[in-house]
Structures are given as structure tokens and as C-alpha cells.
């Protein structure tokens, strides 16, 4: 999975591991993020498989390892893109807590939901701001679409829990 995202980021030009990490932070991080501690070893594997090749470059007086994608890498990535998609699980610990909400007092339930609503709103705002920023540059259409999904998802979830909170407060 995370090897695919590395290949994906190399599709439009060579990059270092560190650069890809920075790019992720400003684009995919809300749904996909990877630590440097797994990016570097992943490049090693991709190189062994012949999907990327490395060039040692001196830039800013520093030695950097710049990776580029090979023809086989491109093929492999496009095959993965065309492969059947499947539903992934919602792995959400708020949902899990809500499942057992009967074990918690009404007050605590409200506190938890209030806090969550706050966080959802903030996340939606953060992504909206990110979108405004990115739209100033010439960013890929589908990168913006995923951002749109993110914004809409957090707004939907925000509204859902806000409605839940209203029913909770009636119970008080």
C-alpha cells in the first residue's frame, strides 16, 4: 500500500524520501501518511524489485538520494490503479466508544461527542484552508477531488454527531 503511494508520487518526477514525506503532509496526510522510518526501507525494496532507481545527488551542499520510477515501476503502478477496488473498513475509535456508550454517564457521553464535533469542525476548516491554498497553484484535479471528499466527509460526520448530541441533550 505504502509502496504504491511512493510510486505514485514519483510518476511526475524524481524525488527524495524526505521530499515525498513533505508532499504527503500537504496532500494525502488526512487519509494516508507514512513515517520516514518506513519510507526509506520501502525505497530499498522497490529498488530491489526494479520499480525505482536511485541517483546520488549533491544539492544544497548535501548528499541526497533521489529516486526515479522505472518503466516497470510505471507499469506496476498503473496495474495497481486499474485493479479492483474494494470496501475498506472504517477503523474509528469514536464509533467503538459509542458502541459501548451505555456504560458511560449521560454527561460524559455529551462531553465526548462535543469534543469530537469540535475536532471534526477544525479538521474540515483545515482541509478547506488547504484547498484554497492549493487552488492558487496548478494542482492536479483529482488531488483536489480527494480533498473535496475529505472536507465533505468531515462535514457529514460533524452534522451526524451534532444531531446525535441534540437527542442526547434531550435525555438530560
Amino acid at each position: 500500500m505504502q509502496d504504491k503511494i511512493l510510486l505514485g508520487f514519483l510518476m511526475d518526477g524524481e524525488k527524495t524520501g524526505y521530499e515525498i514525506k513533505k508532499l504527503m503532509e500537504n496532500s494525502t496526510s488526512f487519509f494516508f501518511n507514512t513515517s520516514l522510518g518506513s519510507i526509506y526501507p520501502a525505497f530499498g525494496k522497490l529498488e530491489k524489485m526494479g520499480y525505482v532507481k536511485m541517483d546520488q545527488v549533491i544539492g544544497d551542499g548535501r548528499v541526497k538520494k533521489r529516486y526515479s520510477i522505472t518503466q516497470e515501476g510505471r507499469k506496476h503502478f498503473r496495474e495497481w490503479l486499474a485493479e479492483n477496488v474494494s470496501l475498506s473498513k472504517i477503523r474509528d475509535d469514536v464509533l467503538l466508544k459509542m458502541f459501548f456508550f451505555s456504560e458511560l454517564s449521560v454527561e460524559k457521553r455529551c462531553e465526548q461527542i462535543c469534543s469530537y464535533i469540535d475536532q471534526l469542525k477544525k479538521q474540515a476548516d483545515t482541509l478547506t484552508a488547504l484547498k484554497e491554498k492549493l487552488m492558487q497553484y496548478d494542482v492536479d484535479k483529482y488531488m483536489l477531488k480527494t480533498l473535496d471528499y475529505g472536507i465533505d466527509y468531515y462535514l457529514f460526520t460533524h452534522d451526524w454527531y451534532k444531531r446525535l448530541l441534540e437527542t442526547l441533550e434531550d435525555e438530560k
Copy 2:
């Protein structure tokens, strides 16, 4: 995380690992599921920590290991429930593929989204059927709420991608 769900399921009475697995399949599986291969070792750890205790029981002519939650276990579980919630990441491989959709032909993009829409509809229907079934019994209110979220989430995502498909088909 998965130790919490085990404790949660024991809150309303003792159960075997196998029984909990079955319960999960009919309730939390759409957002949280755990294999038996991790349930059994998890019980071992919970027992060591004093959160559960085991009784060997003979039922149906079989030797079973029935676990019950201790007072410390209850305390630990309730503390976890009251702990600050935080946003979890959407780990969705469809979103990741959409991010790189420019690398795929318009036809393939539509195929992928069509297939995904289908799956989302089916999942919403499955959960709706599950809800009808559960409502016949006396199921906990918040268990049904999580199911409601699941249904609404899949419907929201279904509609979102359906709208995306319409814009994709205009491009053809």
C-alpha cells in the same frame, strides 16, 4: 484497542473467545473486527493484568474457557471510555487511487467508481437488513446508533461517488 472491545463485550456477562467473535460479526464487524488468532492471546494478556478471569466450563460436552470481567477490568474499561477521543484517519484505498486518477484512462476511472458505488450500496443494504433483524430483539440503543452511523456513512459515500461519476461521464 482490541483489548478494549473484548472488555466491552464482557461488561454484560461472561463469554468465550469464540462467542465474542460471533457477536462481533453481527455488530461491530463493519468498523471493527478481530481474528480469533488475536483474540485468544489478548485474553491471556488481559488475565495477566487482572482485568479478566477465566473459568473452565463444560458445555455441550466440550471444554470451554469462559472469561468474565473483574472489578479492575470494569474500572479500566470505563476509564478508557471516558478518555479523550481523537480523530482517526480515513484509511481508504479508493481515496488513494482517486488521488492518482490522472494516471488512469477515463474509461477505467468510471469502471472503478461504478464498482465502488455498487459495493457501497450493497454494504448499506446489508447493514439496513442487519438493523431490521437486530431491532426484533432487545438490542442496546447505542449499538443501533453505531449501525445507523454505518448506514448513513455508506449512503453518504455512495451519493458522493455517484455525483463524481456524473461529472466523469460528462468528460467522455
